[in-house]
């Protein structure tokens, strides 16, 4: 009955480096369950990340793992996928890695609709460097570089992904652990570029500064501010004010990039 995570973990790497209560571990477990559910083959699956606490995830996973440079995961992964379209390619990383320095590669991966799955662990902060604000830090929040309150508006990661052309966009939270694997599994099965944003927590660099007494409070907040899309349909704007939707937010069928490129190869060989 207890799920066997060890099957997918590299032996001897636990305990992981994440702080007590860091949601990244919850996401990693969800990812493992999703991979198991989709029956992905270890040898045929690459897990690619950038730099950050979240981006340390691949090191624990017993797959072909690539810990790239800050913000570049999507671009490295595009090279892997183009070279070996038959491989499953999963990207993981933090909100800073993916939407700050990595923003350009992110929107272009969305545009190309290249068949990869990107899991963004959004803890609203640059955790690894000690808590500077990220493009996903709420306006007004405190960070080590916004002691007077953050003047920056935050990205709506899902909206950005849709605007850039992603064909599958979902959102979950570290609190709703049971749903993480379902969303990721559906994303993996989707043919095209799929984005799963997991609202996450960083008690160490975000929680304390923003008056959360404990990670429990942070978890409870994730419960309180979110509403499943299905439920939202039955709610009026008033009730939805300040709420964040979870579940599958967008899904569309479009030819994926490597399939399209396969046609280029056919045409080229024809042209010979």
């Amino acid at each position: 009955m207890a799920f066997d995570y060890d099957k997918y973990l590299r032996p001897g790497k636990l305990p992981h480096i994440w702080c007590p209560g860091c949601g990244h571990g919850i996401v990693m477990k969800g990812l493992i369950r999703a991979i198991d559910a989709c029956g992905l083959e270890k040898n045929n699956t690459a897990i690619v990340s950038g730099i950050g606490c979240a981006s340390r995830l691949p090191g624990y996973m017993d797959f072909c793992t690539l810990h790239t440079a800050h913000g570049r995961a999507a671009a490295f992964a595009t090279g892997v996928k183009m070279a070996k379209p038959e491989m499953n390619v999963i990207l993981v990383g933090g909100d800073g890695d993916g939407t700050a320095i990595g923003g350009n590669h992110f929107i272009h991966a969305c545009r190309r609709n290249i068949d990869m799955t990107y899991i963004i662990m959004n803890n609203n902060i640059y955790g690894m460097t000690g808590g500077q604000f990220s493009p996903c830090t709420p306006t007004g929040a405190k960070a080590s570089t916004t002691v007077y309150g953050n003047p920056d508006p935050a990205f709506d990661v899902a909206k950005l992904a849709i605007g850039a052309g992603a064909t599958f966009v979902a959102r979950g939270t570290a609190y709703h652990a049971t749903q993480i694997d379902k969303l990721i599994a559906e994303a993996i099965q989707h043919k095209g570029f799929s984005v799963v944003e997991i609202l996450d927590d960083c008690p160490t660099t975000y929680g304390r500064r923003n008056k959360f007494k404990s990670v429990i409070e942070m978890m409870n907040r994730l419960k309180e501010v979110t509403v499943p899309v299905k439920a939202a349909e039955k709610m009026d704007p008033e009730q939805l004010k300040g709420k964040i939707l979870t579940g599958v937010l967008f899904k569309e069928e479009r030819p994926d990039y490597t399939s399209e490129y396969a046609k280029v190869i056919e045409r080229a060989k024809g042209a010979k």
Binding site: K42, N43, N44, A46, V48, I51, P58, G59, D62, F63, C64, T65, L66, H67, T68, A69, R72, A75, F76, A77, T78, G79, V80, K81, M82, A83, K84, E86, M87, N104, H105, H108, Y261, V264, I265, R267, A268, K269, A271, K272
Partner: protein, 377 residues
């Protein structure tokens, strides 16, 4: 059967050299004056089942070739000055993660946007020192269309042999001029592939030095699972901060190249033996130099040409030896003294080094060099 000959541009020849070497992936971003390399490969690669992708920027392009190389492809990108500067961070990544790949950088006027269509040789220093931290560097500087083809093949060979990025740096003149080229038959030129692991997947370590300074590199998706990072790493590829390991790994990454200079360094000596004045030049400038040296000899001046084909590693040994025999060096270059400075650095003051510097978008003509030879002889 007669060899295939063609009259083509340097950049086209580079693209065909890449194909000859077995390049199966190109990731790039267009920039003058290197675009023809990408344009030719966008046509030719898919014909042989290879992949061509135009990335969102040069950083993405560099990232894509590292990813593709780890997935087993021989991967190439091409760019020019501004793009090379943008690629620097990830060039360092390829160095520390030891990922074979080739970068063709066509030299135009810099810094910044500079003179996009003007020839230059001012990227040779950033070819070695551009990225932060200690790292190896191999940079090839061909001088003809034929040589650009051949050095591109050699670049892939060196990249695969030493698991490190290699740069090919024609100046805009060599990249854009057209000459007759004779295509080598398949098998005529050596084509090297990275060594594959002989151990089982369970025993495989991506940086296993028991196989020497250049450990075998398996491909993602080939049954070998491993971890790659840009952090200092151990034999198994995982990050470490253990002082002894880090020191050893950093030293090995550089030693791979430093200890094999004789295998990597390539140059041409032309009438150097009895020369009083030796012109040290590379790329299109070396063609002007040869012209000038011939003229000088006609006029009874003992001039010679030492033509760099490998700029990095720099042929220090050879030039130090020569410096003990000659009256003077002349270093014509389309920059403000990069080769001149490096040469001074290795001749221990044995002979004066007289530079001829042009950064105005015009080639250095034979007369300028001849005059200097006469002046210093």
């Amino acid at each position: 059967m007669a060899k295939k000959v063609a009259f083509m541009q340097g950049n086209e020849a580079a693209a065909h050299g890449a194909l000859y070497a077995g390049c199966s992936f190109f990731g790039g971003y267009p920039i003058t004056p290197s675009t023809e390399v990408a344009e030719v490969l966008s046509v030719e690669l898919p014909k042989v089942g290879g992949k061509f992708i135009q990335m969102e920027d040069e950083i993405g392009a560099m990232a894509s070739i590292i990813g593709a190389s780890l997935a087993g492809s021989k991967a190439l990108t091409s760019t020019s000055g501004p793009g090379l500067s943008l690629k620097q961070e990830l060039i360092g990544y390829a160095c520390i993660a030891e990922v074979p790949c080739v970068i063709i950088n066509v030299m135009r006027g810099g810094p910044s946007t500079g003179m996009p269509t003007g020839p230059s040789q001012s990227d040779v220093m950033c070819a070695k020192w551009g990225t932060h931290g200690d790292h190896p560097a191999i940079t090839l500087v061909p001088a003809s269309v034929q040589e650009l083809f051949e050095e591109t093949v050699r670049a892939f060979n060196l990249a695969e042999k030493y698991r490190t990025p290699v740069m090919v740096m024609p100046d805009e003149i060599v990249a854009h001029m057209r000459e007759r080229i004779v295509f080598p038959d398949p098998g005529e030129l050596e084509v090297v592939n990275r060594t594959q692991p002989t151990v089982s997947p369970e025993q495989y370590k991506p940086y296993d030095t028991q196989f020497g300074d250049v450990p075998p590199l398996a491909a993602f998706g080939s049954g070998y699972r491993f971890h790659v990072t840009g952090l200092n790493k151990m034999a198994d590829g995982f990050p470490t901060t253990k002082a002894a390991v880090v020191q050893a790994e950093e030293e090995r990454q550089v030693r791979k190249v430093e200890a094999n200079v004789d295998d990597i360094v390539k140059f041409e000596e032309y009438m150097v033996d009895d020369a009083d004045v030796v012109v040290v030049a590379f790329g299109s400038t070396s063609r002007s130099a040869r012209f000038a040296v011939n003229e000088a000899r006609k006029q009874g001046i003992k001039a010679g040409l030492f033509r760099l084909i490998t700029f990095w590693p720099f042929p220090e040994k050879q030039l130090l030896a020569i410096s003990k025999k000659v009256k003077a060096f002349v270093t014509p270059e389309m920059n403000l003294g990069m080769c001149t400075g490096v040469l001074k650095g290795c001749v221990e003051g044995n002979a004066p080094v007289h530079g001829i510097f042009r950064v105005d978008g015009e080639p250095i003509n034979p007369t300028q060099i001849l005059d200097k030879i006469k002046e210093v002889k």
